[in-house]
Amino acid sequence: MRPLQTIAVGFDGSLDAEAAVRWAFELASQVDADVVVIHAVGLLEYAADRGVAVELEKTVERLAREAGIDSARVHWNLADGDPCSVLIRAGVGPVAADLLVVGSRGQGAHAGLLLGSTSHELAEHAAVPVVIVPTGREGQ
């Protein structure tokens, strides 16, 4: 297995996603990897105020500062699509991530059902390993 070079983490602004980003930053710092923070731009967000993505990027910058990760290691990536599809593509496309990281439940995923669950879909379809970070468990 080759060393981790690129970690992709999904971010939709939810608390679960913040936990996933913190976990990814901590792992990246330990193994000296880059982190690509990916935000999926859906149908409605495309038509909405671009300020949504700007605010999310600021949040990622804050999380990076708090984690003490080298900012040159952090890359912000807006990708057209639903959260699951853009993360699956991150494992094979230009991002070529070695590892995908997601929160246990992002925005829009319904608790208790598999339906719409990004983490479940990823586990089934991703070409690279997937880490699902439960809320409140990052850093443990």
Binding site: G42, L43, L44, P83, C84, S85, V86, G108, L115
Partner: protein, 320 residues
């Protein structure tokens, strides 16, 4: 429906009551587990399925009727052996995957009708002129040689799939044709895309039925995208694709996207007017927008991918 009223067609329009798609019809394209989950989710009150897709208590019933409306349209055309059918139904369907709702779509309406037709050994051409790539339809028929899927769509844009290199699975090489277009592309570019890139595959395929994913969000007024078509362009597109049907009574259009109500009304009317020989055209067709280079590039990329795939042995094609 108001767009249809604008044509004043009177008794030339027959309203066909939708069927409610049954499990056997839906499981041709959707996993049983997904259907059971979706039904239970709606019955429990519904909620957000993804950032774009919401379901309510009645959504399961509405989705089954939308899918069943397509099946009813096919049945009606078979009985008449004449005319065209327009499935005015929501929720739309072309983003719905075999096992997942997505992009406002719960059940893949056009795929359910296409699968019903291929079960009867028909060859089905699907042309998807919605501004978004129909990832669900493409995925469902990816390796099915009985369906030719052709899509024109804005690129980059949701859902992020639909490159020209995506040409179909090992048993259906060349049965997928994607033509991504840049923001600002006009109607002449879309027509050129179909004529220059897809037409050879359509001629080779020789369809017995033509189904259209008729989204109207490529209209210049639509808030969800940035292509620059007018309602007049949809009239010209409709005339073009009708020519791919082998005979009358073999063309069904399925409403997909379209989120500016005025543009939707004009575009639906212009589409149906063109198909029925009416001169109704509330806006001139458009030309001169960007995209010619992307059309040429799509042609080259599709050709290259197709020939590269055929150079592989059958077993290598399966592995890939």
């Amino acid at each position: 429906m108001e767009g249809i009223d604008d044509l004043h067609l009177g008794t030339d329009v027959q309203i066909v009551a939708p069927h409610v798609a049954n499990l056997a019809q839906m499981t041709r394209v959707h996993d049983t587990a997904y259907l059971n989950e979706l039904a239970a989710f709606c019955q429990a009150g519904g909620g957000q399925l993804d950032p774009d897709t919401y379901a309510m208590v009645d959504s399961w019933s509405a989705a089954r009727r939308a899918a069943g409306a397509g099946l009813a349209a096919v049945d009606a055309l078979r009985q008449r052996d004449d005319g065209v059918a327009f499935v005015v139904a929501r929720p739309p369907g072309h983003h719905a995957l075999r096992d997942r709702a997505m992009g406002f779509c719960l059940l893949n309406n056009i795929a359910i009708s296409a699968a019903a037709l291929t079960a009867d050994d028909e060859r089905v051409l699907i042309i998807d002129w919605d501004v978004h790539h129909g990832n669900g339809t493409q995925a469902i028929f990816w390796d099915d040689p009985k369906v030719l899927y052709v899509s024109t769509h804005q690129w980059p844009l949701f859902p992020g799939s639909g490159t020209a290199q995506e040409i179909g699975g090992p048993h259906a090489l060349g049965r997928t044709v994607n033509i991504p277009l840049p923001a600002g592309a006009t109607g002449d570019v879309v027509r050129r895309a179909i004529g220059e890139v897809a037409l050879p595959a359509i001629d080779d395929f020789d369809p017995t039925w033509v189904l259209i994913s008729a989204g109207y969000d490529a209209h210049r007024a639509d808030p969800l995208a940035n292509l620059a078509l007018s309602s007049g362009d949809f009239a010209e597109l409709a005339t073009m694709v009708a020519g791919f049907a082998p005979r009358p009574g073999r063309l069904v259009l399925f409403l997909e996207g379209g989120y500016d109500v005025g543009a939707l009304r004009m575009s639906v009317a212009a589409t149906l007017g063109a198909l029925l020989g009416d001169s109704y055209q509330p806006e001139d067709s458009t030309c001169g927008g960007p995209g010619t280079e992307m059309v040429h590039q799509a042609r080259a990329e599709w050709d290259e991918a197709f020939h590269r795939a055929w150079l592989l042995t059958p077993s290598e094609r399966r592995v890939r």
